[in-house]
Point group: D2
Chain length 248, copies 4
């Protein structure tokens, strides 16, 4: 599938497509891993990840979509949103960062906003990654105990823990309001993360038109001389790292 993703990127570039993929879902569902699965084979100059921090004071008073719009793609670009404008319908609603009126306004505006993007020709894909609470509990515990994952555990996550039902309810309201013909949601079961990633990428590829664009032919003549080793004069490379088990 990596090869198909690379093909998709080549097609996007050759034809000037603009692709937006939104990754939303439960805490711990595996958004980061799914994003990595899409991007890892792609050119970072073509495929950008947008992971916005919380809005600053001025941004909080602007049109809600404004700071996201700044990051929409130009021709040939693929933009992956690690969380997105849907924050307002999820964490902001459940944790009370947005008022019920703001949430209602968002749910009314989002479909119209997305319609404009789609009518403008942007290819918009919205994925929601789900996971059972038992699985979520296990992953939260893992984050707590694994020093490598501890940063993923914010106080908000824990406060959200006993709000599993509220998140479910918020998600259902979000789907009811924003699952539209022009910008449908796709739900993916991420109880098994690896399978979830495969499922998501497969689905993304299947939704795109046939994306065959042949790479340009490149002539690759022999070098015609002995290849040179690196030679440094100003300063020298540092000594290579020797893992402990090789060191003895």
């Amino acid at each position: 599938m990596q090869a198909e993703l690379v093909g998709m990127a080549r097609w996007a570039k050759a034809t000037g497509q603009r692709i937006v993929v939104i990754f939303e879902g439960r805490d711990t569902a595996g958004k980061g891993g799914a994003i990595q699965a899409v991007r890892e084979a792609l050119n970072p100059r073509q495929c950008r990840v947008v992971a916005l921090s919380k809005p600053n004071e001025a941004e909080q008073t602007q049109w809600y979509f404004q700071r996201y719009i700044t990051h929409l793609p130009s021709a040939g670009e693929i933009v992956l949103f690690d969380r997105s404008w849907y924050n307002r319908a999820g964490v902001e609603k459940v944790m009370g960062y947005a008022s019920p009126e703001q949430v209602a306004a968002f749910l009314a505006q989002a479909p119209l906003f997305e319609k404009q993007l789609v009518e403008d020709g942007i290819l918009l894909f919205k994925y929601w990654l789900g996971t059972d609470q038992a699985e979520q509990e296990e992953r939260l515990r893992e984050r707590l105990e694994d020093p490598l994952k501890r940063w993923k555990l914010s106080p908000v996550d824990l406060a959200a823990r006993d709000k599993y039902d509220a998140y479910t309810e918020a998600r259902e309201a979000m789907l009811a309001a924003t699952h539209t013909d022009w910008a449908p949601w796709t739900l993916v079961d991420f109880n098994d993360q690896k399978r979830g990633r495969l499922t998501l990428v497969r689905d993304l590829l299947d939704r795109l038109p046939d994306t065959q664009v042949e790479p340009t032919e490149i002539d690759y003549p022999p070098l015609g001389r002995e290849p040179l080793p690196e030679r440094y004069s100003v300063l020298q490379p540092i000594v290579n790292y020797t893992p402990v088990d090789e060191a003895g």
Copy 2:
């Protein structure tokens, strides 16, 4: 070392450090992989990769450093530059995109510019990844033949192929002018990419001060009820992907 990188990020956040790491080097040396090695365990909201495309018309007439400066870190942020302002001393010089006067001006300005960043308290690390030409030739061939890597092969790369010596010369001039007390270069041998990555990350960690900041204690009480499975009403998850070899 992933754990140490996570520790570094925690320290940067707790103490408001701003960290900039520049990745420069030969085509095919392995910049992308090295960047991935640093970032993969870190919070994408804290650690950003900056991979600028070629400047647009207006940018070409601005102060050369301007479009890079936009991306410098705020407190707690780690910014990884996948190529950087040093383009002017490398590809732009060798391929003739910048005039000799522009290159000379850059080499004179860069140390002063970096001095300002360092004096302002930014932690600046500059890595140059080297590889022998024989190795480079092999990797270019691999990019040509492996559909997954084909996008990495641009016409510029091929034009650069028989300019290995010119790149060497450009690099030496760059090192001579910009290897300073306040912003030294570190050269890393990337003939073995995996080892190169380990060497680079180990060096980066060693250059940072002792970064022990304990993660905040988090209370993790039992859930106190049966965990819920996901339940959807508006629409259902798509069917999980079944790999071909499981399908039979």
Copy 3:
């Protein structure tokens, strides 16, 4: 009316209003002067003028509204658009910079786009400044002959000169499509520019709610000492300019 504009600005700041005023109209109608009439008494940190140049290559491929959205106001700000997204329905259409499909798409999208801004609480005012062709001819000639105004005369202006009718037609199509309940146009006769400015400002003030916010009381005690004259030591002021007629 300047006092009322100042009152409006105080009200906007005190209550966090966001105000957008669009100035469109015939070439030479007097957009610049009208904008100046609104802004001159206001704080430049509160009231911004947005006068975008033609889009760069990347912007040309983005969602059409994107580069304008970047400049929408935060709480308390007043943004004056010197030309706006309506370029597409005017100069771009008449001069052929946009395809008929693009123009049609714009005319369909603009009302929806504006509806979103208005529903978000932005106060949006759209003014169209009109002038008879005889008047326009005279002003074009003045621009040609007056060295102070020569810069206002671009080749596009002259090319547009015998397209007076096409502009009329484009404007009528624009009004038919985008004069909505939520974002109505106001046409102002600018054959007499001074009167046009008064008419526009009066109308703008009348459309705003009663904007009385008292300035905060400020205590202004006597200075309590002899005021000091300026005294410089490092360098001295330059000699004051003496107009020729005083010089003799």
Copy 4:
């Protein structure tokens, strides 16, 4: 002199010059009026005013010059800074918003920073507008009493009132540190604001090289038909404003 300013702008555009003019000075000295004197005859798409508000939280932790650098000119642009990076040596120092260390660091960095801009070819002019305290007192009182000018009176202004000497001292330290060969200050006496403006503009013009660029010849043939009056069908212009004294 307006004609010469227009000539300067034409020259800047034709030759791709980048011009930066900094306006600093006492509160009430007349920065706004001086800026207006420079800009009023110029194309707002070429000549921009930059009047930054106080930095947001993230900006406060960035490299101090970063948010100003964003606004530096591209080829052909003229940027007028209504206050500038010198805030740190003036109001921030006197009012205690910056620590003595930050002020000292700024005074050391500013000349180097400016040297880089100048060496890059940017034409940099720094004006300081001075006024005696007696004059300042009178203008503060006028701002207090004139509703049109009341917005210019901030609590900071009043707090600054009995700090006239501290501002003098701060200015002298600033001049001593930043009046350099490559980026000299020019002090202008603004006790008489009108004369101050003339003096400043005259000086600016005199410092620029001979800027004669002829405007391009433009062919202006007769219209060849009767000019048309405006005709509207969708909606009609509003009634022209009638001043009260004409109304009777």
